[in-house]
């Protein structure tokens, strides 16, 4: 639209877009919008968090783990009983709630510092706080009272219980790091004895999720 000036000549309007510019603008905006909105499809690359199995009533009784060449290697998946741990220093790699690897062992209660054992037993999460390999008890180092990780020589002292902090700020008790690269103590798993079976106490389950 043009306006006639007083002298009759055509005056340029202040803001005029011709058809070419209009099309260019609209198409560029459309392209940018499409690209941006398609970028949001990348959200689909994030893992599906909802698809995991619902944790309803899960059996808290510990089950023996799959390690070969151990005293419990004939019974993987069966329930852990108190009577199996008949002497100090006997321990086993176990599984708690089908997904949390742990180590349970009989300890000399008089040597235990700053923690109490349950009927002489104590349990720790077995995933190494360094890079998540599974720690073992006396398997590779039969004469040492340590939880030991094969991957990078991390060692934890089950008799020396200390307070530590997870990256997300949760405080917890665990076996102190005495050698190697692990940054944090191995968390204690509180246990109870039910009908002679050893079961974990399911509180603060989020504490054991540090390996993803």
């Amino acid at each position: 639209m043009t306006e006639k000036a007083a002298d009759g000549s055509e005056k340029k309007p202040r803001c005029r877009i011709d058809r070419r510019q209009f099309v260019q603008t609209i198409v560029s905006l459309g392209i940018v919008g499409t690209v941006v909105s398609f970028m949001s499809l990348l959200m689909s690359l994030l893992p599906n968090t909802g698809a995991g199995e619902e944790e309803g009533e899960v059996d808290n009784v510990l089950k023996y783990g799959p390690e070969k060449g151990t005293w419990y290697s004939d019974r993987p998946g069966t329930e852990v009983k108190l009577e199996d741990f008949d002497q100090i220093g006997k321990g086993a790699g176990v599984l708690w709630r089908k997904r949390i690897p742990a180590i349970v062992m009989r300890v000399d209660e008089s040597k235990l510092r700053d923690a109490t054992a349950t009927n002489g037993l104590i349990a720790f999460a077995a995933a190494c706080t360094h890079l998540c390999c599974i720690s073992t008890w006396r398997l590779d180092r039969p004469n040492e009272d340590i939880l030991w990780c094969r991957c990078h020589d991390g060692a934890f002292d089950p008799y020396n219980i200390v307070k530590d902090v997870m990256p997300n700020g949760t405080e917890y008790l665990g076996a102190k790091v005495i050698a190697g690269p692990p940054p944090r103590a191995a968390p204690i798993i509180p246990i109870e004895i039910k009908d002679g079976k050893v079961a974990g106490v399911a509180k603060d389950l989020g504490l054991y999720d540090y390996c993803g």
Partner: protein, 447 residues
Amino acid sequence: MKKLYEWFDGRFNISPLIAEAQRSVNFALPSTITRQNRSKIFWLGYPYYYAGSIVAFLAILQGITGLLLAFHYVPSAVGDPGTPTQAYTSVQNIMKFIPLGALIRGIHQWGANLLVAALAIHAFWAFFRSPYRVGREISWLLGAVSLGLALAYSFSGYLLPWDQLGYWAATISVQIMRSIPALGDLIAQILLGGTSLSAATLARMYFYHVSLLPVVALVLVGAHIVLVVLQGVSEPEEVWKTEKTGQKPGQGQAGPLFGPFIPHQIIPVLILSLITLGIVLLLGAYAVQMPGDPANKFLTPQFIAPEWYFLWAYGLLKWVGWLYEIAHFVPPAMVFGVDLLSAKVVGILVAATMFLVLVLMPVIDRGDEVRVLRRPLKTTIGVWAIGLLSTLTLYALNEILSSILSIPIGTMNVVLGSIVIVAPLAAAVPVYALLRRHAAKATTQEA
């Protein structure tokens, strides 16, 4: 044949393209070896110079064998930990029942190892020869990225059989990735579909290995090779000895120094490719590695180690930890909100810095001199880096060595740890002294 060509040319007008391709291929490459050093038994001394062509040959071989394996492999890791998944059984199937399956997998396995080896030689050769100086920065960049690509290939491929070794090697890598400050978890979730390995991870790895990486590799490596053809090979040092020709190096022009790719260059390429093929076939037929036990996320196997070309990184991690231990240094849990000084983050930072330096070489290292013996500092750094990588590799084997030699692990660590510090320096210092003298002498002679 001619008729067929004419039929094609009539429709698609390809003859100008072919003429252009012939022209660049025939004139772009230096024929120093054929003209100046005709008497040399060149293919004894030049495998280094042709390492790139071995990489290309092996890449094609990997493509063919990989394609054949893909017909039988099933990328599914659904199943209870410790039981054979479909991925695992399908690899067993290939090894036991598919006609020639074991040979094909053997070639693929050894081809991958030799490819990385050839690529390492190619990369170090290029590092010493400074080819990026004369307008080949983009080739260098593409090459450096391709190096990362090869490692991504092998990382994803190693996991596919879903056996204990692959599973735990990948677990450690994933956890290291997670410790990248601030972004670690997000990267792990996007790349691997979670912060720990699962069936979703295998699906993604398989997609990368057979679909995404091949496309990226074709584009990047293709561009790398096209650039070599367009710009010419950065010629070997012998060119400098014949200064009478008065030509500037690396300009790719036709002249007495340059000869046709066919037949002069193609012959050593073919000879080396056939030798490589022979080696791969022998190793693939007689030394193929069966997958270990099925992956079990609740059981870390006795000895775990990454593949040999990642051992230096594994060793670096262990070595930093050992240094901390003997220095009685406990890294602070948090620096700026991340565990910046923990051995694993230090390891990541060192490795990332090394890669960054490699990528940025064209920017860091400027000037005209490319002769290896006239670059004391750079050559020394290269020698030191090779020394460091090999001694760190040795350090990664500390447990295995200590059990073989029955030396206590503590003593072994002290011995190997000191070697990591001393040996690279012991190699680098004399090299530097010698080269300084050589360079000074050469300069006075020229003056």
